[in-house]
């Protein structure tokens, strides 16, 4: 058969197509189709070279005219390096106008993924520009790229969220802790647990006048046997600035990564990790006002995920933990200052009480003096019986006991008590011991002191000397307020409210003006003349009661001047 058909335009625009005569014998193959199936033969019927999977024409046979108007799907096996695969062509049949006895099988490869094209031995240039299938594949690829980017962004967002939550957890939880070591432990625990690091440890800077980091007992993963030699070596190893990973962190104030510490000559502890197949390490500075106070170090056998983002995380972590340490240090300083102030205030109260105390001691001293004179007389009087001497000596002992109690009370009152334990103490004992100090002072000033006895079983958990300090302060203020007024009196009583006790100090004054009541608890606020009051008494009293989970309030509903000390019977931290 002589093949005469050729059409350059057809070959260019439909390179996967072919043309047959009315019986289906192929007159022309497009160049891309020949590239796809090099074994195709001109002159042979198309149906002997392809399997037709659609349309199913039954007895109508394979005549091209019968296929017109239908979706045509042809298939042929193709040899590829991995074996053979079935390649399908999709399209339709048309009669060519310029040659009515010939038919155009306008086809395109049925591909669903751009990756198939090189697998079939084709290139993009085998497809005409604007080919709908190829364009569709490009669109799909664009969508896949966009989807992949979205998925990557979502995964990164999830990771960032996880890490942000971790930082939040560390910051919030650490703030409730009372010392830096607890915050360090919480941090290394949380980081190892959440980010999958095997081991965490803390080096702390020591105050030796030089930049030295000392190991601590703060570990996460300390139970891992494979890290035992490393733990033991670490416990014996200190670093100066610039030495080892912790020392370099101390010097640079930045996190330092070491991909494999076993291979790092500047990691002296590497000898203890040689048994591991690999060990990535990171050192993180804990910064307080720009100074490194500790270095957190983490180690893992597996390379950590998201290293770029982790670097930023570790920088923030160091600052976050540093802020917790700084806050705890500030709180410690504040506590020290408050203790110093409280002690100073107490000593000031003692000064004010000294006149009354002198009076209290003077009475028994007078009794001792008189007793001693009496004993002298008895010695020279032979009629005095042994019993009378014994009685006189007993009186002397009682007076000495009285003085001893006052001195003991003074010692108890004057000592710094902020570290004392909270002890269950009868309220009446606190009130009576407190009043013993100031009774004489009130009597000397002509102030009537009214004390309502409190039941013996009414007790509170407290630091007795601190509560005594609060009451002395309130009584002292009441003394100063009413001493110049007519008919002055001061009353102290206690009310048992079940779970708590209210101790009320009331004086004969008319109460505070509202503006004054508002300011009275503020530090350094005083109504007393310059040089007489520090303005710290009520402020310190408030702090003491806060530590007791109690409170000090001014009772504006009382027609006289009344301050109320409220104390829980059981200290909540027990």
């Amino acid at each position: 058969m002589e093949i005469t058909f050729h059409d350059t335009a057809l070959d260019s625009l439909l390179p996967f197509s072919f043309v047959t005569d009315h019986e289906g014998r192929v007159l022309f193959f497009g160049h891309s189709l020949l590239k796809l199936f090099p074994g195709l033969e001109l002159g042979a019927p198309y149906h002997s070279q392809f399997t037709r999977t659609r349309p199913d024409l039954g007895n109508l046979g394979s005549a091209p005219a019968a296929l017109m108007g239908e979706l045509l799907i042809l298939a042929r096996l193709k040899e590829v390096p991995s074996g053979s695969l079935e390649v399908r062509l999709r399209g339709q049949v048309s009669r060519l106008k310029q040659a009515e006895e010939s038919y155009l099988f306008a086809l395109s490869p049925a591909v669903s993924d751009l990756k198939q094209i090189p697998q079939w031995g084709l290139e993009f240039s085998d497809f005409p520009l604007g080919d709908p299938i190829f364009d569709f594949l490009m669109l799909i690829q664009g969508q896949r790229n966009a989807h992949a980017k979205t998925e990557a962004a979502r995964a990164r967002l999830a990771w960032e969220n996880r890490v942000a939550n971790l930082l939040h957890h560390i910051a919030v939880t650490s703030n409730e802790l009372t010392d830096a070591s607890q915050a360090f432990q919480l941090t290394i625990d949380a980081v190892c647990r959440e980010l999958g690091w095997d081991v965490g440890h803390v080096y702390q800077r020591i105050a030796d006048g030089q930049a030295t980091l000392a190991p601590t007992g703060l570990w996460h993963g300390a139970d891992l046997e494979k890290y035992r030699p490393f733990r033991e070596l670490t416990a014996r190893t200190r670093f100066r600035e610039g030495e080892g990973m912790p020392g370099r962190v101390l010097q640079s104030r930045k996190p330092i990564w070491v991909d494999d510490v076993r291979k790092d000559p500047s990691f002296p502890r590497r000898v203890a990790l040689e048994a591991l197949p690999s060990c990535c390490g990171v050192g993180v500075p804990v910064l307080v006002q720009g100074e490194v106070v500790a270095v957190l170090e983490f180690f893992t056998e597996r390379p950590p995920e998201g290293r770029n983002y982790l670097s930023a995380f570790f920088e923030i972590l160091g600052v976050t933990v540093g802020a917790v340490v700084a806050r705890q240090r500030a709180l410690d300083r504040e506590k020290e200052q408050l203790a110093i102030l409280a002690q100073a205030s107490k000593m000031s109260s003692l000064g004010e009480l000294s006149a009354g105390v002198a009076h209290e001691i003077n009475n028994p001293l007078t009794a001792i003096s008189l007793g001693a004179q009496q004993l002298e007389k008895m010695i020279s009087d032979p009629s005095i019986s042994q019993e009378m001497v014994k009685s006189a000596v007993a009186r002397l002992h009682r007076s000495v006991d009285r003085i001893s109690k006052i001195v003991s009370g003074l010692k108890m009152f004057s000592r710094e008590a902020s570290g004392d334990p909270f002890l269950e103490t009868p309220v009446h004992r606190i009130l009576e011991e407190t009043l013993a100090f100031c009774k004489a002072r009130f009597e000397n000033a002509g102030i009537s002191l009214r004390y309502e006895p409190v039941k013996e079983d009414c007790k509170v958990e407290c630091r007795p000397s601190q509560i005594s300090q609060v009451l002395l302060n309130l009584l002292g203020n009441a003394h100063d307020a009413v001493e110049s007024s007519p008919g002055p009196w001061i009353r102290i009583d206690a009310v048992d409210l079940g779970a708590s006790v209210e101790i009320r100090v009331t004086d004969s004054g008319p109460g505070l003006a509202p503006a004054l009541a508002e300011k009275i608890m503020r530090p350094f606020f005083t109504t007393k003349p310059v040089g007489k009051g520090t303005g710290l008494g009520l402020s310190i009293s408030t702090n003491i009661l806060t530590e007791h989970h109690g409170k000090l309030t001014y009772d504006a509903s009382c027609p006289n001047t009344r301050f109320v000390v409220s104390l829980p019977k059981i200290h909540p931290t027990r």
Binding site: L114, E123, G130, L139, R144
Partner: protein, 181 residues
């Protein structure tokens, strides 16, 4: 230009100079320092503003920046999921160059507003070819130099390029590419 181009510039600057510098550049160019939508078309003026601002803030000439950007474009697009497509358009440096127009033509399917340049490749000898570059956009010839260098490296070729800018004698830029070794 499509957001993919601007995003590539952002990636290049942030990877080499940090995100703070990119924020400065965006501020100078009057654009928020957000990511760009790869498949969204942005005004050409934005891209030019970013290049201008980057030149001032980084203290590099726009020409050097564009050349570095062209080089980076090859690796960036591969990383962004276009590597397989690019691989289909050429097995080596020469075939890839010859297929650039076709690749851009097909890329138009997913980027309907794409206004790609046109390239004509003439092999002058076994070790030399000339790339004729036609574009409606001005001033991007240095980027073509970087692009040619990046493509050559991708396929393991070492080349030198001589640039003949368009002038009164020629309506387009030409690049003489000499293969080494």
């Amino acid at each position: 230009m499509y957001g993919l181009v601007n995003q590539a510039m952002k990636d290049l600057v942030t990877s080499k100079f940090g995100s703070d510098k990119w924020s400065e550049i965006c501020q100078k160019a009057g654009h928020p320092p957000d990511d760009f939508e790869a498949m969204t078309s942005y005004p050409d003026t934005l891209t030019y503003s970013l290049v201008g601002a980057a030149s001032q803030i980084l203290g590099a000439s726009a020409s050097d920046l564009l050349r570095a950007f062209g080089d980076y474009w090859v690796t960036f697009t591969a990383h962004e999921g276009y590597g397989e497509i690019m691989d289909m358009f050429g097995k080596d440096f020469r075939s890839c160059l010859k297929n650039l127009n076709g690749m851009h033509g097909h890329m138009g399917a997913m980027m309907p507003q794409l206004l790609p340049p046109r390239f004509q490749v003439v092999e002058t000898s076994a070790s030399q070819l000339t790339v004729h570059y036609f574009s409606t956009r001005q001033g991007l010839a240095p980027m073509v130099i970087g692009l040619l260098e990046g493509l050559a490296r991708k396929y393991g070729d070492t080349i030198t390029i001589q640039h003949h800018p368009k002038d009164s004698r020629s309506d387009h830029d030409e690049f003489e590419v000499q293969f080494q070794g």
